[in-house]
Symmetry: C2
Subunit: 684 residues, 2 copies
């Protein structure tokens, strides 16, 4: 749906162009002129024959054929203009800056739909309405400042908020970031963030395409599409960082004991981003710092050499890196000694490599060469400011050269934003990116390092008996499934479960007990919160006791039968799943009891979840060490736990009608993981 006419139009008209450059229509035209749009440019203004020196038509009807139109007129006039342009003028790229559409009221929504229908009918593209426009190296179809420097290897930036885009551009430009394209999707009436990403994915050319994508989104309309193309791009070697704002309202929703309640939308977003390999950022500065990292040479490990001429910032950076999961490894040996001899007395090469306030450009070069060639590190963070005694042009020039020539990434931290503002400006002008604050950079490096590669689109899944699953689900009504149906589903999905019997008389109970073996657990069937009504008895060891408890429990209100299970021992685990209308099924896992209820130690993933991804989820649990065995307790094999997670994923894939399910508890011991209680709710 993204047309060539939108991306690289040979002619553009600004409808609503004005001499007043403080109005969107005026500023957009000015931007196109100032930034030297190379095609034919027209204006439409009912009262002028030229606007800012550009030929102006009084109506769209009078226009010649034109490939791309930028509309800065009141909403109510847009449908007609679009109609004429699409049908009569061959226009296939549209940018509508104006507001007053579906974001405002019903009437606006109607206008918006009309426009989209028209554009769709001719196979055109629409950016907006209610946006700041779009820009790339071909043209600057925006009414805002600043216009960034464009570069083929610059950042592709897609934003759901125009004002935020401006502030992101401003901050990014000051730090030296360059852009390849900026799309402000506004109301996303036709093209949304997902669609632009799809375009980047499908048009990706390893030789020429930019590899850094930034997103700012407040709502994800089509999570599956976002996942698909983000994952694909990352798999092709791109880096994606995104801010998804607005999660707190959902996140602060009071947690309940029900596992499903934790699958709030923010958890879903996290799961989606993790699955796609997107680095999730919280704000503009973090997003741009991560972008700055992405724009350097690829980072291949977590060992950082800190090169500095000042102690303090290096110490703070070391703290940030090592607390955040990266390493600042000690450096020693003959090569280190050799380097030390090239530095002034008092220098240290132990890492941080401190070459003192008097350190020179030559010395910095020697240090970076040693880091590149001799030392076992993956990147270099160079801190170099100035107390204002002398200029540092030579140091920054050397730094810029080394950033180009070294194969390992170099992250320049230039803290002296006042004392050497001129040098920093020149450094940026030469095409370099810098970072003003060491802890901010350190945190961002850790964030990038923590973000795992994307999960495969079609993971190898455990095989399940789909026919059996369908039989049960097709035959079931909406609501909680009966125990027998739950058992059949677990068996069909290959999820190990405790042997059990559901009985309706004391005689049956005793017979079943003999078969299952003592000691036993007895539970009521019917009541939802079994423990609360006295409907769970543990450690039943004799036929007499079975009989006695049966007689007592069957009288508990709502009880329709009694369930008997052999008593198993092990660590309480849980696995759950919940369907989100937009995100599909999310599968959750963790340790049971207080770990989920009090400590909220839960990991979530979006289905389908293969065993390796499930193992990753389990590995991220804070309580993971308990599963490995502590205080004399048997270790639980991660693989067996992961397999249950993956089988639950396969089950909900076969039966999307499952709205939510809980295996809670599962008991884990060294022999494996067994479901002891399960609830499955169907909602179509």
């Amino acid at each position: 749906m993204v047309t060539r006419e939108l991306l690289d139009p040979h002619s553009i008209v600004v409808v609503g162009a004005s001499e007043d450059v403080y109005k969107p229509g005026g500023r957009t035209l000015e931007n196109l002129l100032v930034h030297k749009y190379g095609g034919k440019l027209y204006a439409v203004n009912p009262k002028a024959d030229t606007v800012q020196g550009v030929k102006s038509y009084h109506t769209v009807e009078e226009l010649p054929q034109v490939e791309c139109a930028i509309l800065a007129i009141a909403a109510k006039y847009c449908p007609h203009a679009v109609e004429v342009l699409a049908r009569e003028k061959g226009t296939r790229g549209f940018i509508i800056l104006s507001a007053g559409f579906h974001e405002e009221n019903q009437e606006g929504a109607k206008l918006e739909k009309e426009i989209v229908d028209t554009i769709n009918s001719v196979g055109g593209s629409l950016i907006g309405p209610n946006c700041i426009g779009m820009m790339n190296s071909n043209y600057t179809g925006v009414f805002i400042h600043p216009i960034p420097t464009f570069a083929r290897d610059g950042i592709d930036f897609i934003t759901g908020s125009g004002a935020t885009a401006v502030f992101i551009l401003e901050l990014g430009i000051t730090q030296g970031l360059r852009f390849n394209s900026v799309f402000s999707v506004g109301n996303s009436a036709q093209l949304g963030v997902e669609d632009i990403l799809e375009y980047f994915d499908e048009s990706f050319d390893p030789a020429t395409s930019s590899r850094v994508k930034l997103l700012y989104v407040e709502s994800i309309q089509n999570p599956a599409k976002l996942l698909k193309h983000a994952r694909s791009l990352v798999q092709k070697g791109c880096h994606i960082a995104a801010v998804k704002a607005g999660g707190s309202e959902a996140g602060s929703r009071a947690a309940s004991s029900h596992t499903g309640a934790m699958a709030s939308s923010d958890v879903a977003v996290d799961a989606l981003f993790r699955k796609a390999g997107i680095v999730r950022c919280r704000g503009r500065q973090e997003l741009l710092t991560v972008a700055g990292i992405f724009c350097q040479k690829p980072l291949k490990g977590k060992r950082v050499a800190i090169v500095t001429h000042a102690g303090g910032p290096a110490v703070m950076l070391t703290d940030a890196l090592s607390n955040g999961g990266m390493e600042v490894p000690p450096i020693s040996g003959p090569k280190a000694k050799e380097l030390l001899e090239k530095l002034y007395p008092g220098s240290s090469v132990a890492n941080p490599i401190d070459f003192l306030a008097t350190g020179t450009a030559q010395q910095l070069g020697d240090i970076l060469d040693a880091c590149e060639l001799d030392f076992d590190v993956d990147c270099m963070a160079v801190i170099f400011g100035s107390p204002g005694l002398f200029p540092v042009y030579d140091v920054y020039e050397l730094l810029g050269q080394k950033m180009k020539s070294c194969s390992k990434p170099i992250y320049p931290i230039l803290p002296s934003v006042v004392n050497v503002a001129g040098e920093i400006a020149q450094f940026v002008k030469a095409g370099n990116i810098y970072f003003p604050e060491e802890v901010v950079l350190g945190d961002a490096l850790c964030l990038v390092n923590r973000t795992a590669p994307p999960q495969p689109e079609h993971p190898e899944m455990p095989s399940v008996d789909r026919a059996a699953i369908r039989r049960v689900v097709d035959g079931a009504k909406d609501g909680y499934l009966a125990p027998g149906d739950v058992q059949q589903l677990l068996d069909a999905a290959g999820i190990p479960r405790a042997g059990e019997a559901v009985v309706k008389s004391a005689e049956e109970a005793v017979k079943a007990a003999e078969k299952l073996g003592y000691p036993l657990v007895m539970k009521v069937v019917g009541p939802v919160h079994k423990s609360d009504v006295g409907g769970v008895v543990l450690g039943v060891k004799t036929p007499e006791k079975v009989r006695e408890e049966f007689d007592r429990m069957i009288k508990i209100p709502e009880t329709t039968a009694i369930l008997l299970q052999p008593m198993l021992s092990g660590v309480e685990l849980f696995v759950g799943a919940k369907r989100d209308e937009k995100f599909g099924h999310m599968v959750l896992c963790g340790m049971g009891g207080i770990f989920i209820e009090v400590l909220k130690d839960v990991q979530a993933g979006l289905a389908p979840i293969g065993i390796p991804e499930a193992e990753g989820m389990i590995g991220r649990l804070r309580s993971k060490k308990i599963l490995d065995g502590v205080r004399g307790q048997e270790p639980v094999p991660t693989r067996a736990f992961a397999e249950v997670v993956s089988r639950v994923s396969a089950l909900v894939d076969a039966a999307p009608e499952i709205f939510e399910m809980d295996l809670n508890p599962l008991l884990g011991n060294s022999k494996g993981v067994t479901a002891v209680d399960a609830r499955i709710r169907i909602a179509r």
Copy 2:
């Protein structure tokens, strides 16, 4: 020890002054001249009669009387110069910029000591050596740039690192921060961070003293002194924020099952800062953002009104605030309706208060007035940038006025660092502080909000039998105390413990068992890791079993006796204490077992710890809800747990010889908290 001659000298000599302003001696003299030092100024330079127009003497001997000396000469010449100045010229303020002292080698340490001895003998003050100097509104005794704007209500900044100070000043100045004084203590040969803080405390005048103090420290030489004066200053109404860098090495030390191992120095620093009410920051940006908050009107609650003309940043700020423990409360009612009528259609006052991209200064004024007078909020965060269409001088002027006139603090977030750089510069020039990034501000607000007021210096402590404690400790050798001694100490400290008996024969064991009551726990005395050697048996219910287990256990290697205790039930808790040579005793508490070993859910406090502080520690445990009773378990009274924490603190106060102790486990149930096992180690 801080003399008037250091703070407000009537005359200054720069020893080692130079015409070359790219040398410290030249730049320092230049700074004094440019920033119009008002007293008499002299130079010492062996080759010149004037330096930068200032009268220069060839030797210090030739100088007239001079109150303050700034030395920028090689280390080896410093002792003689100091000797002459101190003894003959009446100098009582010294700043030594030169390096080459104890930070370099033994010889340097000797020179340093000589200088300190001389200065001490005349009652003088010394800043440095190895520092950038000091400055305040009286003079700029530093060789660096930039020199900040000085204001009586500006920031007092003490730093252990000169270069870091430069970078902090640069960042702070760009955001509008003003300073009252800057002390770079360098090697802290005589005056360290703690001493300057002491001076601020003792000279504090509510009418004239600045209320904001910032610290950058890498090591704390005298924690007790820092605590004393920081606490006192905060109690007098000051705000202190500090970076203590270099904690990661200690923090990453592999954790062991021993509680003491968690009392790493970084934990101690956290405990110290918490006790003093210091806001601990991780880096320069965080420190300065917190400082910017401190410089506004006092923040009295956690309810934030977000006022914005752009949606995105407000959403990100809302996320940051509500995820970090602050509130963005909904605003409604007739007053809200009244306000809405003054705004353009499409605006929202629900909070965030969004007055659209077209919002005016007048409207911002109306909004801020409503927040000040009508709405139940504690502060206002105002986001106002510009897409570059029109200037915003009027808005920022209004903002500056409201920041002065409103009683509630206003935090201006001005993101358009490019588009309205001129307006921001003017805003800063008018004496205002701004914040460029909303999430950074949000996080800092949450950090400030989380920092509790200081704990009292002399908390009310539970009474303990000091005489009995001293009897036991004075009679004990270094090493682990015998069980009988441990019991006596717990009893003397009023710490509830399980009844117990230590027996050496099977007969004795049976007799004791009858007295304690069944069921019992039996444990070996002697081996340190009792469970590992099979030296713990639970649930012993008969005399026969007592006899049988005694006979088995007494043969376990290193076993000298058997301990019998009645079996108690409850939640496992622990309380420990550990002595740090610098910080004194730290008391730790948490839930036992996996909570301490796997989840590291431990809180630490510096002794003395009164019951309210102990309750605060318990309240910060992640597992606190478990103590309140979950899943049918009895709640444990926080007060009883806190009392044990406080009694352990009182015990180590009476017996500082206690190097470490563990009450692990304590069992907590609704009746109280009882120590079941305890170890106490003495080390003098």
